[in-house]
Symmetry: C2
Subunit: 333 residues, 2 copies
DNA sequence: CATCAAACTGGAAACGTTTACCTAGATCGC
DNA sequence: GCGATCTAGGTAAACGTTTCCAGTTTGATG
């Protein structure tokens, strides 16, 4: 592969001049500029990004650590980051953290070795302390979907608790009194907070959520199916089910339907996330919207700003909003 | 950020020795090895990947060019490539080609500047000739979802025509005689070939597909809805519809249902791709499976093999297979 | 005790750029 | 015609590694 020296030799100029042409720098005559450009295409010259990064001490890249490309939620997240990277002409580097502390650490380390200019990290497995340490060592790192008070200005996060509350309040406002919940069995904070929010809203209204009305399962369609089967066999007579996410909700609806319950006439179902899926389901899913693409875009913008020394605003909290579709019915009014 | 020299100085050895420790090379005493390792963690030293890539003339990275992270189909593709990259400890670089020739070219160029070790490219906009030129200049580049005879051994592709044929034959074997088609309005080869396959199968059976029974639309839910509305208003009395992909099929089913047609009792629907979605729809979608993850994994493996000088086998053609679910009904038998 | 190989260690060149600094010529005002 | 001022262009150092080659120990052997 041709180097800058080859180009310089072939064009009869010095490497400095070629470099100036590459970077659209000043101090080169139109004649030489044209000549060099011609030689570059003749030789199929392509500047070596690594050499550049080495000498300039920074490479125009944006690193992203997260887990599952295949999951629509994460795909949307990645899509948002990619969009910003593209707008800023930054190369996107992706590292999968799976959801294990070792892998997440490994993924961050790899990206740091690449000397990424900016970093967006989705970590569920690493401890607050470890993430704080990384953040301090790396001024252009931003966390997404996580809230750590000590570095709050570098966190873009969703108020999961408020989402749980809102879902509960909404159902109660429609007259629902017997409410059940299908949650995720993973011990991360998101399901925990959503559930707490729901419990709080119901408790404040004097209709506390009984533990027996809560089922846990894998946060996917099958998990939703199993949890709903368990719920139904307890014969609690719930008129509404608050579900951890849309994928589980699809399983919930599916099992309800198979067992002769009509959604929403007999049982209302409310999801969480508002991923693509929710519009494809029948009935179309009423759900709490997780504006993940917007959040991902902000996180990417923030990381890029930080990398160029700009400061960013303090609060990056988002709140889930209710999206009314067809899976919830009013019991009165 | 600490460099190898800092480590060498702090450990009282030469940079050569530190380098050997970093690379687990031989010829360094246990004493020094331990000492250097200790200093590395003390200083928070991280080798500079760019410097490494520069001197070794290759960087352990796998580049991927494709379009829409947010689309479940492409997300699955990316997921497959990512999996292989991870297994081989390769950093994944992603560039979006949108679906424009300029952007696709730009995306490939950027990746080449990064001196990626291997390259997987999904291109629909660039010409055969241009891709052939890239492939020749770059021995470790593999094309996915495209078949160019001159460089067939570097193409991983799906036989779209065979898929169209199979869908048609299947419906006819169930007694369907009035078959309609909802296709994509994009002028790329995939929809064209699927349609041709379908037409051929029907023609061979003596029940050619009338042009009036073909509608085109955007390859998404809305496109499927619009196309179906158009189809219905022609009042052709079709008992089955072959649809370009699953997203469109969801729109097709939705409009059919809204207009009082039961699926599959009144009208059968068959999709294409078998993305996640098809299992969430009601009725569950019968579709032609596009084994994109498997194909993406093979493409990535191939690119990596080629980059290390190994040769790869000749034929990488995949064939869509029928996945029977609940959206198709037998008219007899 | 001299010799030799093996094991370890260090010096220095090289990778492909960017850029600070310098030089030579051209232009200009007087 | 002369110094001052510009301008285009070149020289060379630097970035952080790897690795070849040439030492220098060390311990065993004759």
């Amino acid at each position: 592969m041709a180097t800058i020296k080859d180009v310089a030799a072939a064009a009869g100029v010095s490497v400095a001049t070629v470099s100036r042409v590459i970077n659209n720098g000043p101090k080169v005559s139109d004649k030489n500029r044209a000549k060099v450009k011609q030689v570059m295409v003749d030789l199929g010259y392509r500047p070596n990004a690594n050499a550049r990064a080495l000498v300039t001490q920074s490479s125009p890249t944006l690193g992203l650590v997260f887990s599952e490309l295949t999951d629509p939620f994460f795909a949307t997240l990645a899509g948002g980051v990619e969009k910003i990277a593209r707008e800023h002409h930054r190369q996107l580097l992706i590292s999968n953290g799976l959801v294990s502390a070792d892998t997440e650490r490994q993924a961050i380390e790899t990206l740091l070795e690449q000397r990424c200019e900016a970093l967006v990290v989705h970590s569920k497995a690493l401890s607050d302390d470890e993430l704080i340490a990384y953040a301090e060592a790396n001024p252009a790192m931003v966390l997404i979907n996580r809230h750590i008070p000590q570095i709050a200005h570098r966190c873009v996060w969703l108020d999961n608790r408020a989402g749980g509350e809102a879902a509960g309040r909404y159902l109660m406002s429609l007259g629902h009194q017997k409410i059940a919940c299908v949650s995720s069995r993973y011990h991360i904070e998101d399901p925990q907070l959503r559930l707490e929010g729901l419990q709080q809203a119901l408790a404040e209204a004097g209709q506390p959520l009984a533990d027996i009305a809560i089922e846990h399962g894998d946060p996917n369609q099958t998990g939703g199916e199993v949890a709903t089967q368990n719920l139904l066999s307890k014969n609690l007579g719930a008129t509404a089910i608050v579900v951890y996410n849309d994928a589980m909700a699809s399983g919930v609806i599916s099992v309800l339907t198979d067992n002769g319950y009509r959604v929403p006439e007999d049982v209302s179902v409310i999801g969480f996330d508002d991923v693509l899926l929710s519009r494809y389901l029948r009935p179309k899913l009423t759900t709490m919207r997780y504006p993940i693409e917007m959040m991902a875009m902000e996180a990417a913008e923030m990381a890029l700003s930080l990398s160029s020394g700009k400061s960013v605003s303090d609060c990056h909290k988002y709140v889930p909003t209710l999206v009314k579709r067809d899976s919830v019915l009013a019991l009165r009014g």
